[in-house]
């Protein structure tokens, strides 16, 4: 079930990279570039255990945001968005649990399937946890310009 306005969904579908921001134990925002994977309802990101500090932060505070700002990473689109939501870490099986998202991931990064066949070369990179974000609120800049106030929508509701 779609929970986000169509333009934001389109951005999520197109984005090769987005900026995940989590809140650390001191209340500071920490931003990580990651590939956003959207299944039409929730946003997923994956994190290698090598770079798992973000997972520690999310376990301590599940309030996160994902921004999509880079026109180059979205095929030239100039609109921008930030999605705020509640995140949880899914890590029942760091070895293979994340592979259920491989079909969506492959659409954005086709080489990942090849790299997975070379898992022996970089085994810890493929030990991964999933970050599942349930969108709560979205800010959208149709022209991508912060001089204009964003359109704000809550998940499942129309833009304000």
């Amino acid at each position: 079930m779609s929970t986000l306005p169509e333009p934001i969904e389109a951005l999520l579908e197109a984005a090769l990279v987005g900026e995940l921001t989590v809140v650390d134990a001191n209340g500071h925002p920490v931003t990580y570039p990651l590939i956003p994977l959207y299944d039409g309802e929730k946003i997923y990101l994956t994190s290698s255990t090598l770079f798992s500090r973000k997972l520690e932060h999310i376990k301590g505070n599940g309030k996160v945001s994902l921004s999509i700002t880079d026109p180059i990473a979205v095929g030239g689109r100039t609109d921008r968005a930030t999605i705020q939501g509640d995140a949880r870490v899914i890590e029942e099986d760091p070895h293979g649990g994340w592979e259920r998202l491989l079909p969506i991931w492959e659409k954005k990064e086709p080489s990942i399937v090849y790299f997975l066949t070379q898992r022996v070369a970089l085994p810890l990179f493929f030990e991964r946890a999933l970050i599942e974000i349930t969108p709560r609120r979205a800010l959208y800049w149709a022209d991508g310009d912060a001089a204009t106030a964003p359109q704000v929508s809550t998940a499942g509701k129309a833009a304000a």
């Binding site: 925002p29 920490v30 090598l50 180059i72 705020q84 080489s111 898992r119 085994p123 106030a149």
Partner: protein
């Protein structure tokens, strides 16, 4: 034993350097935590003064930028590669406090700290290696959370391949089969003991490979290495938590015990003092390669130990098993180019390891010598390997078809040319190391092919002399 998983983290980023990097991005991402506790990000165009540690940017419309809490400015870059994914990854974040101008139009930002990564400066593989400790921390925490050990995994096949470094077994197969072939030319061949020799010698190398990781970990060399490649830096299975230190020690023991038992069986079947001496010396060289007190590789003697072990010892050992102890110069001469080329595999593989080796007190030749000297030694040794083949043929010790080995010389030239431009780039050197492994393999196989020609000729036309004597 050195602390596993204590590899240094990504190099720290000075805030001025962070701001200077941030200034190179076409826009900056302002991020802060809103009153509801959620982060919010908005793209802004900041004017950055890296030297002063400050930035200014227009206050975003409709969003209140806090002045009583930390805010951050980030830059993020990728280059899309259609059909592949992307590359040129880099990002930087600078944290600090913001001050609003009296008219509320501009935010002044005073930077306090910075963090980032640029794969052009720290290659992804090195970045991953530096982060090994974070992965260990993750699994340790998950194990505590679940009350049961949780470890990273690989399938058994891949794990066995990685743990034993099985593909390097060519270093054993080549000299052993060559020794058997030369013995066959001399009229001695026994299939059972030939097979047992191949298996036993392989066990010695597999034991050596695993023991090497055990002792390098114990002495801190593998933990100090931040730029391992598939050819260098060990198997890393201990560092990655895939196999425990104790398990590795057990695996090495099993291989050595297996090799010892096969050696005893061969002694019983084909016993000779020469085989006993070769076996004992081989065991000492193998164990002493990294193990105290000998630690040949830590003293700059690793290349010599490998040359002796995977050259004359392997080849003559296989030869005397077949001949029941009879020795001759021919297998010794044939072993010399193999010895030099196998030593050069180790030698080149030590180049990317040299900084970590130096930190761990492992005084290999590339640690001790300058870049020009290291490259010159490679060239001299490679030329010597092929010169020995030619001289061996000229003086009648090697058969004329042994000259087939010269066909691999262009590969050695390729390695020689690739060393200088990639000397300080471990990942660029990977391709060169791969070719270098092929130099030994192909030279050995071509020598073997030469002996097969001799054997076939001997069977088909016994009167034809393929030696210049």
């Amino acid at each position: 034993m050195a602390a596993i998983g204590k590899t240094p983290r990504t190099p720290a980023l000075d805030l001025h350097e962070g701001l200077a990097k941030l200034a190179t991005y076409p826009y900056q991402i302002l991020t802060f935590v809103d009153p509801d506790g959620y982060p919010v990000s908005v793209a802004v165009a900041a004017a950055i003064d890296a030297a002063a540690g400050t930035a200014t940017f227009p206050a975003p419309s409709g969003i209140a930028t806090p002045t009583d809490a930390d805010i951050s400015l980030s830059g993020s870059h990728i280059r899309p590669q259609p059909g592949y994914g992307y590359d040129e990854r880099r990002h930087v974040t600078v944290w600090g406090r913001g001050t609003m101008s009296p008219d509320g139009a501009t935010v002044s930002f005073a930077a306090a700290r910075a963090w980032g990564w640029d794969e052009a400066e720290v290659p992804f593989f090195e970045y991953s290696e530096r982060s090994t400790g974070q992965s260990k921390k993750y699994f340790d925490a998950l194990s505590v959370e679940r009350g049961t050990p949780v470890k990273p995994r690989l399938s058994f096949g891949w794990l066995a391949l990685r743990t034993t470094r099985l593909p390097f077994l060519s270093a054993t197969i080549v000299p052993v089969v060559l020794g058997i072939a030369i013995a066959a030319r001399h009229g001695s061949f026994d299939l059972l003991t030939a097979v047992l020799t191949v298996i036993g010698a392989s066990f010695v190398q597999l034991g050596l490979n695993v023991a090497n990781d055990v002792f390098d970990t114990a002495q801190g060399a593998d933990d100090a290495n931040l730029t391992p490649t598939k050819f260098s830096g060990g198997s890393r299975v201990i560092q990655y938590g895939l196999v425990s230190f104790r398990q590795m020690a057990g695996i090495a023991t099993v291989f050595y015990v297996g090799a010892g038992l096969i050696g005893l069986l061969l002694l019983a079947l084909r016993g000779s003092p020469a085989l006993l001496i070769i076996g004992v010396v081989g065991f000492i060289v193998s164990i002493g390669y990294t193990a105290p007190p000998l630690k040949f590789v830590y003293r700059g003697l690793g290349e010599i130990a490998v040359a002796i072990g995977f050259g004359p010892l392997m080849l003559l050992g296989a030869y005397v098993v077949q001949t029941r102890g009879a020795l001759s110069w021919e297998p010794f001469v044939a072993s010399l180019p193999i010895a030099l080329l196998v030593a050069l595999i180790l030698y080149v593989n030590e180049i990317p390891d040299r900084r970590g080796d130096a930190r761990a007190g492992k005084r290999t030749l590339p640690v001790r010598l300058s870049k020009p000297t290291v490259i010159a030694i490679y060239q001299v040794a490679a030329v010597a390997a092929y010169a020995i083949v030619v001289i061996g043929v000229v003086v009648g010790q090697l058969p004329i078809p042994a000259l087939l080995a010269l066909l691999s010389a262009p590969l050695a030239l390729q390695v020689s040319r690739g060393l200088a431009p990639n000397y300080d780039n471990p990942y660029g050197l990977m391709a060169v190391m791969g070719v270098n492994v092929k130099v030994h393999l192909y030279a050995g196989l071509l020598l073997l092919a030469g002996y097969l020609v001799v054997l076939i000729a001997g069977a088909v036309a016994p009167s034809v002399n393929l030696f210049l004597r």
